[in-house]
């Protein structure tokens, strides 16, 4: 009975002291090495020795461990670009315990971010961006994704097909600031990777002064303030000075049914009114009209016809019957409209 009970006790408490199998997680980095870690659940309590191999290849011990608090938590194992299509075997050993796992790495690839991201202003006035990738993958196996933004606004995303390592922004605005980043991964045709690379270092193009489209330069703000103050002063002056008000905003005449002097309608200023009145005086020059005298009467005498003009000096001698008719003529000076015409018989 005692050995049975002892055995039962060991079976019950055994699992408590047994080491839990670590979960190994492997990722192919840039198609150059495999990075495996076993601290996903918790930091391992013991230091494991790591071995790995691809199908039909030699088993290798870990050349470079990843450590945390002096405990091995992972391993970096170099590989070739085509190895990801083969089964990857891992083994963690501690004392008499060993934990084996198999991994399919075809889709578990993470490339390094693209490099040498440059921007050029093309002859077609478009903005062209170019980049490279550092992995040994063929160009037609790498697809990219671009994100860019204008003046620190929201990001815009765009996919770039495999085999192409350039991107174009049409007719960029000269007053805007552009920022662009790119990332890549293995294309579907070559066994697509589940993970995108990290974003590349950003590249900028455009004016630095227009980093924020909502901000207004300081001198513009000053001008706005000065303009507003000037406008307010003008309004105040307009209200205070009646004369200015009349000049700038003349009153509209109010038509009335009672006819007044038409001159009053225009409400001309006194000065303007007086300007219309003649300021010169002119002496009246009376003009006499002489009637026709028959020739028999006038043959013996020479009649002289003259106008009696007080200030006038015009005299007309008539010797010719044709000259008998003395037209009514006014003096050369202007006469007022209310002239009195004196006609003598």
């Amino acid at each position: 009975m005692k050995p049975t009970r002892l055995l039962l006790l060991l079976c019950l408490i055994g699992p408590v002291f047994a080491i839990e199998a670590p979960d190994v997680d492997c990722l192919v980095i840039n198609l150059k090495y495999v990075s495996c870690t076993w601290n996903k659940k918790e930091t391992p309590k013991v230091n494991y020795t790591f071995y790995s191999s691809f199908f039909n290849k030699e088993k290798k011990s870990c050349p470079q461990y990843l450590t945390e608090n002096n405990m091995n938590i992972g391993c970096i194992q170099p590989c070739e670009s085509g190895d990801r299509f083969l089964t990857f075997n891992t083994m963690l050993v501690h004392g008499n315990d060993s934990f084996k796992e198999t991994h399919g790495l075809k889709n578990r690839v993470k490339l390094n971010p693209p490099t040498n991201l440059t921007v050029l202003n093309g002859s077609d006035f478009n903005l062209w961006f170019y980049w490279n990738h550092t992995s040994p993958a063929r160009l037609h196996c790498v697809e990219s994704e671009v994100r860019f933004r204008t003046n620190n606004n929201k990001w815009e995303f765009s996919k770039v097909s495999a085999g192409i390592q350039k991107y174009c922004i049409n007719s960029p605005s000269g007053s805007s600031r552009y920022e662009l980043q790119v990332r890549n991964r293995i294309d579907e045709g070559c066994g697509s990777s589940d993970f995108w690379s990290d974003w590349s270092e950003p590249v900028f193009w455009g004016s630095n002064n227009s980093t924020d489209s909502d901000s207004v330069p300081g001198w513009m703000t000053f001008l706005y303030v000065v303009g507003a103050i000037t406008l307010m002063l003008l309004v105040v002056m307009l209200l205070q000075r009646e004369r200015l008000k009349i000049i700038l905003i003349p009153a509209v005449p109010k038509p009335s049914p009672i006819l007044h002097d038409i001159e009053d309608w225009f409400q001309l200023s006194r000065g303007l009114k007086e300007n219309f009145k003649a300021s010169y005086n002119e002496q009246v020059c009376p003009v006499r009209e002489y009637n026709y005298i028959s020739q028999s009467d006038s043959m013996n005498s020479t009649s002289s016809v003259s106008t009696d003009q007080t200030d006038c000096s015009v005299s007309i001698d008539v010797n010719d019957p044709e000259d008998l008719y003395v037209p009514l003529s006014s003096s050369s000076s202007q006469v007022p409209s209310e002239e009195v015409q004196q006609v003598s018989d």
Binding site: F55, S81, H140, C190
Partner: protein
């Protein structure tokens, strides 16, 4: 005479350069046809002799033959995509594109088709897809 030899050599080199893109395009065509066939076929539980996940470089052509003949045996060539895929898998460019054997190693060590364990149709197509993607990534 020397000039003729030089010209012939240039033409030969150019033909080699051009071959790679043609083989790659053919393999990409195979992938498209495989995708269409997978979409067309119902979720079948059919079991078929399937080459392994891990195929040695010098056994890839043997595996290709196994995939082609198994496809013919189980699905025939009556369907539109079955016929296209079968023809593409039999094409010279496909064979050249999946020939990874650079050594004089005999292919006698490669397993025969009927010796492979049977797998579901979905696994069959996935392994064929992996083989073709492996070829495209190498060209």
């Amino acid at each position: 005479m020397k000039l003729i030899v030089f010209c012939l050599f240039t033409v030969y080199c150019c033909s080699l350069v051009k071959a790679s893109p043609l083989e790659r395009k053919k393999l990409q065509e195979v992938l498209r046809e495989l995708k269409m066939l997978k979409r067309d076929l119902p979720n079948t539980e059919l079991m078929m002799n399937t080459p392994p996940k891990d195929i040695e470089d010098c056994c890839c052509l043997t595996a290709l033959t196994c995939f082609r003949e198994t496809l013919l045996e189980h699905f025939g060539i009556s369907g539109k995509y079955q016929k296209k895929l079968y023809k593409s898998l039999n094409h010279t460019l496909t064979i050249n594109g999946l020939n990874f054997c650079n050594t004089e190693t005999s292919t006698n060590n490669c397993s025969t088709c009927h010796s492979h364990p049977k797998e579901k149709a979905s696994e069959f197509f996935n392994r064929l897809e992996s083989l073709v993607q492996r070829g495209i990534s190498r060209i």
